[in-house]
Amino acid sequence: MSDHLPILLIVLPLIAAPLCVLVGNRKVAYVVALAAAWCTFAIALTLITQVTRSGPIHYNIGDWAPPYGIEYVVDSFSGFVMLFVAGIGALVLSYAPPSIKAEIPQSKHYLFYATYMLCMTGLLGICATGDLFNVFVFLEISSLSSYALISLGRSRRAPLAALQYLILGSIGATFILIGIGLLYQMTGTLNMADIASRLDTHHGPRTMLVSFAFLTVGLCIKMAVFPLHRWLPGAYTYAPSVVTCFIAATSTKVSVYAFARVVFGIFTPDFAFEQLSLNTGLMILALIGIFGTSITAIFQDNVKRMLAFSSVAQIGYMLLGISMANQSGLTAGIIHMFNHALIKGGLFMVAGCFALRLGSVNLSDWQGAGRTMPWTSFAWVVGGLGLIGVPLTAGFVSKWLLLTAAVQSELWPVAVLMLLSSLLALVYIWRVVESLYFAETSQRAADAVDAPLQMLVPTYILIGAILVFGVWTTYPFDLASEAASTLLGAPTP
């Protein structure tokens, strides 16, 4: 049984999805989905402990040996990403019922759970698989289900936002497909490790360059790298709160994961960064993106939109780490994936709590809610401190690592700009804090009460995790640094 865990991780939510549809009852469907989600998390946890104990796990589907069969690989990088995707997926699902009851028509609840499970399947699948075409398939599973989930939003703009995301996302996916096709044409295989061993990155044909370009652009759309991020703010803003929590915390990070895999696992950083100096371009884009979107975030009245812009900025930090292409930079980037998933997930969950009680995510309606919803508001403060990167929160850990990595690589301008940009986070987070605590109480906030415990407890678990991993840094750090050394091809210690 334990040998089959890697496939079980994918199959469990995949089976839960049609099961949810078949039972057709929202309560039963919820129980099925929730059980599947937590089991998935348990599996992910088991896998990552196995990986740290005895190295990467290779699983051949149907016992077909790679490269003929599809191979699933769980190493410290994919295991780490799977861990937090599954964890946050399960946590958000535990938090979901009161919120979706308010935001989604009851008749569609079971479909919502089914789609949610599919989305989780896709995201986990991207991490687990070692087969490039499989990456595309899972990417599309997760994307299609996210489009559907986003379109469930109450606002009439939700379908439009979903459609815009769909069009851009499909273009991205098709680009990725072209890239994969060209790679296959060159190497005759789809197994990532196999491709990497057959690809001569120094004297290869020009096709390699083209394929790399297609893959990069495609993944950049999925990652929402500035300036290809246009789909993201609308999608995050108009999606139901629960969907935003889950997608914001996981989906872009998984795309970053896929990107890192492609760059480091297939093309080698030597090709991408030394020969093409993609790192300089990425760094510049990341920095412009960080500043541009952070400043935009400051001027948003809609809190979800503000957080969405902030997400684009945070993707920039991850890319900064990755584009340094050394052990410390990669570690910082990977750990920021994890930390930001916690932080942004937590903040969106808080926004969901407010949305439930106040019926709005506009800052003007949140005013004075600190008095009537103290617990919810306090969660915002803690999560916000994490986003700013104050010591003893998870955000500080990644910022510190990123800073030391930048200094070690002697990228002084990057270090300085990074610090300055984190001040912008202070501005937009604190605007909300001040509105919550100091402003005249708004009509809606005046007779609001704290969010129900079913939402508050998962929110606090995630918010608490920000503090826990801000102090207990060794666990995520060890995982991330091992993941980084796996990516860089160094023997794992």
């Binding site: 075409f133 379908p159 439009l160 459609l163 769909l166 499909s170 497909l177 072209i178 296959y184």
Partner: protein
Amino acid sequence: MSIEQVVGLYNYWIVVFLMMTGFYIVIARTNLIKSIIGLNIFQTSVFLLYITMGRINGGTAPIIPAVVADAHAHAHPADAHATDGPAGHSLHETADELIYSNPLPSVLMLTAIVVGIATTALALALIVRIREEYGTVEEDEILELDRYS
């Protein structure tokens, strides 16, 4: 690059033409339905790209022809593993003369087509909902409506 080479790559020219047409439609059209059509053309071009790369000139479908299979089965009724007999040898030569096209790209495209159909279906469903809400499928009109709401 000689003219023969350019013409010889005609399949790729078709792919590129379709790809650019589709891409242009997606970007330039404000009508949502037309955008989706563009997207479809764009995706289809990739299907062609894959299929054409799997095809080998003079190659057949990767199915063992009935003649060969029969002969093979006849020569080794009991033991399928013993291929080094004198009769088996000649049969093998006939089998080797056959060139098979690579089936894998076509198989991959089956999946991609399914994905494409799912995308189109979802997109059309979304457009129906948009049309219900706004009464139009022109993107600029929708944005206009949103601005004043």
